[in-house]
């Protein structure tokens, strides 16, 4: 019993120590007024939370992230199934996909801002661009990774190609797609913030930029804390969703004989 509460004690201790160190460093003015004390940040945060603009920014950030994620997921899975199922399509797209995969959306941010302006569409475009390829690649891997024994089983029972695609290939690619989504969901949030911060798109990123430009450091820290919490929520939500959909997969099985 005693052993099981010890981790929590240590965790609380860790968080408390971090806050105290922060407060002390800030009071000592080690970084001038660029490091506001924790107390100031939290009171500022409380005021920010009371403003309508904050909530509409938050809404924009979440809305853009989720909408773009959904778009990327649907498009990515369809493209991935296509690319994974047909060899010629795979070869045709291989070079382009491999080139684009390691290119983060921030690279084309200037272009997006130039063409679409500092708008929600620009943010959406960037997020979709950033999330699409990983989902496509993982789906392709999943299709390719379908167990040949499972495929053969289906074939030996006389199931048709389309039935196999829908009932065997897609489900067995789900863990891969799940992995992609788990990576993509926080990434969607990151890109939405980047689009706001660097491209002026709507949302919390823009607020951070404005706080920084105005030298409003307490708000800056407060907003970053909000983003941290939001990031955690995103991660938790995707993990939960994945667990529900993939409850049958090895990594989620609850009863292991």
């Amino acid at each position: 019993m005693k052993a099981s509460i010890r981790p929590y004690l240590f965790s609380i201790l860790g968080v408390a120590a971090a806050l105290v160190i922060w407060q002390v460093l800030a009071e000592a003015k080690v970084a001038g007024n660029a490091l506001p004390p924790a107390t100031t940040v939290f009171t500022t945060l409380a005021t920010i939370l009371g403003t309508g603009t904050f909530w509409s920014s938050l809404g924009a950030t979440i809305g853009i992230s989720i909408l773009a994620l959904a778009l990327a997921a649907v498009a990515g899975v369809v493209i991935g199934l296509l690319v994974g199922s047909f060899e010629s399509v795979r070869y045709a797209t291989l070079a382009v996909l491999e080139f684009l995969k390691p290119v983060p959306p921030i690279v084309i941010l200037p272009l997006a801002v130039l063409v679409l302006g500092p708008t929600a569409e620009m943010s959406l475009f960037l997020v979709v661009f950033g999330c699409l390829l990983p989902i496509v690649m993982q789906t392709v891997d999943g299709v390719q990774g379908t167990d040949p024994v499972a495929r053969d089983t289906a074939r030996s029972y006389g199931m048709g190609e389309r039935e196999i695609l829908a009932r065997v290939v897609l489900p067995s690619a789900m863990p891969y797609i799940g992995t992609a989504m788990r990576v993509a969901a926080p990434a969607a949030l990151v890109v939405t913030v980047v689009a706001g911060l660097l491209g002026g798109g709507p949302g919390l990123g823009q607020n951070i930029y404005q706080a920084q430009a105005a030298g409003d450091y307490a708000s800056l820290y407060g907003l970053v804390i909000v983003l941290g919490v939001l990031g955690l929520l995103f991660q938790g939500a995707t993990r939960l969703a994945e667990r529900r959909v993939l409850h049958w997969h090895e990594s989620y099985r609850e009863v292991v004989p």
């Binding site: 167990d147 024994v149 499972a150 053969d152 089983t153 289906a154 074939r155 030996s156 029972y157 006389g158 199931m159 048709g160 039935e163 009932r167 065997v168 489900p171 067995s172 789900m174 049958w248 997969h249 090895e250 099985r253 009863v255 292991v256 004989p257």
Partner: protein, 284 residues
């Protein structure tokens, strides 16, 4: 072959299996399954690899035939050819005289890797239903078939569980139940009882004999275990060295019904297994 039951004898358990089985009996001279001069080469050109060169044997209706042979000899390859999953390179395999060119509807295959052939995202029952979907059966018929198959393998209680929640032996029985629900006339099993413990193995072997008895199926089993082969089979096909060829077909004359303890302690049993063993054991 005194222990082979007449395949058409209507037993209490056969139920609607009969409907699928042709009423007109194949003449005694046509074997149910006929493999003649079968050859299989993987790849082509420089990478070509001949696994099976010239294989000939037959399986009669209602028989249990076991195939034994060293690992990698090409047993699984042979079964895949029979199941129509790979085309034969030359020679032919035929069911009732019809050459096999795609998965034959009267055949079901139980794969070597049961844990890879069951869909982990489906419950046991849904795994059974999956291959039946395109048969467009009524809901009642679907349920009846699944219930019957699950009962046959004593897994009625597990129908809502996922395969991975079951032990290896139970999973293997699910794979067998799936085949049973499909109501094949010919059941082919690839090392079905590997890596389950001795007790379960005995149970599954007896299940296999029971299925033959109840459903009048023709059964072809690949195994590593010579005792198992002798215990189960009416005939044992012993395969040897690469490329695969038939070393001998051993007729097993053990009385029915067979029993794990009494049958295995018969002197005749020991003789038969020694014969197979000495065929397989390569010179030291």
């Amino acid at each position: 072959m005194s222990n082979r039951p007449a395949p058409t004898l209507p037993t209490r358990n056969r139920k609607s299996t009969m409907a699928q089985q042709p009423e007109t009996r194949v003449s005694a001279s046509t074997p149910r399954l006929d493999v003649s001069h079968l050859a299989k080469t993987y790849g082509s050109g420089a990478k070509a690899r001949t696994v099976i060169e010239d294989l000939t044997f037959t399986v009669d209706a209602g028989e249990i035939v076991c195939i034994v042979g060293p690992s990698g000899v090409g047993k699984t390859t042979l079964l895949k050819c029979l199941a129509g999953l790979h085309p034969a390179t030359s020679g032919r395999a035929a069911i009732d005289g019809r050459t096999i060119s795609g998965p034959p509807s009267e055949m079901a295959l139980v794969f070597q890797d049961y844990n890879r052939s069951l869909m982990p995202w489906l419950t046991v029952r849904k795994n059974l239903v999956l291959p039946l979907r395109h048969l467009k059966l009524s809901a009642a018929e679907l349920k009846e078939r699944c219930d019957g198959a699950l009962a046959a393998v004593c897994l009625s209680h597990a129908d809502n569980q996922y395969p991975w929640q079951l032990s290896g032996g139970m999973q293997q029985r699910v794979a067998i139940a799936r085949a049973l629900a499909y109501r094949p006339e010919i059941l082919i099993m690839d090392e079905p009882f590997a890596s389950v413990d001795a007790q379960t193995r005995f149970d599954l072997e007896d299940l296999c004999l029971k299925i033959r008895r109840d459903f009048a199926m023709t059964i072809l089993v690949v195994t590593h275990d010579i005792d198992e082969a002798v215990y189960l089979a009416d005939r044992v096909v012993v395969l040897g060295s690469r490329p695969a060829r038939v070393l001998k077909v051993v007729d097993v004359d053990l009385p029915a019904p067979r029993d794990q303890i009494t049958t295995r302690s018969l002197p005749e049993f020991a003789r038969q297994r020694t014969e197979v063993l000495s065929l397989i054991k390569r010179p030291a």
